[in-house]
Amino acid sequence: MAHIALPEGIPGIRGPMAFRPETAKPLNELVDVLLRGPHPPPPGERELIATYVSARNAIAAHHF
C-alpha cells in the first residue's frame, strides 16, 4: 500500500503525478526532453540508460 492516499488503480509514478499535477507537469516535461527530444542518441538508447539506472537502484535497495 502506498504511504499516502494516492488515487487508486494507477501504477507507479503515475499515482503521485495524479495526486500532485503541479509537480507532475515539470517532471513530465523533463522526461519528454530527455527521453524523446530531437537529439542523439536514439530514444531507444536513452530509455536503455533510464532502465539500466533504475535496475541499479533496485539492486542497491536489496543490499541495504
Binding site: H3, I4, A5, P16, F19, R20, E22, T23, K25, P26, L27, E29, L30, V33, L34, G37, N57, A60, A61, F64
Partner: protein, 190 residues
Amino acid sequence: MAPHIELPEGLPGIASAFAFRPETAKPLRALAEVLLRGPSSLTSAERETIAAFVSARNDCFFCYASHRAAAANHPGGSYELVDAVRSDYRSASVSPKLKALLTIAAKVQEGGRRVTAEDVAGARAEGATDLEIHDTVLIAAAFCMYNRYVDGLATYTPADAGAYDEMGIRMANQGYVGSRRIADASDEEQ
C-alpha cells in the same frame, strides 16, 4: 577542477548546466519553483532546509551552500538553523513536524524503499498532511537528482562563502524560473 564538458564560463554550479542546456533547464527550474516556493503549508525556509539537508548528505557542496543561503534568506530561516539541522536535526530548534519530515527525507536520500510506514505514521502524528509528505519525498528525490547533476558534470563550485549569500538572496526573493538574470548579470560583468 575544470568541468567534465565545456560549460559556459563564469557561471557557478547548476547555473552553468542550465545555460548549456535550456531545454532541460526549463522543467528543472519549474520543478524547483513549485517545490520550494509554490503555495504550500510548509514555509519556503522549511522546504529550502530540507533541500540543503539532503544536499549535505549527498556531499554536494554547491547545492548545500546555495540552498542553505536561500533558507536563511526566507522568513523564519537562518544559517545557524540550517547548520544545526545538518549536524543533528533531532536536536535542532525546528518543529517536531519538520523533524519527522527530515527523517523521511533522510531515508529517501539513502533509497526510496528505506521509508517505512512507521516513518510516515510518525510524520502524521506530528500533524503532517499527505501533501507535505509527498512534497518532502519529492524534494529529497529531486535534490538527489540536482546534486548528481551538479557534481556529475564537475560544475564550477565557488569557494567564497560570499558568493552563496548573493545566490541565496536571489533564490529566496526572485526564485528559480526568472533567473536568466544570473546569465545577464554575468554578461554585464564581462
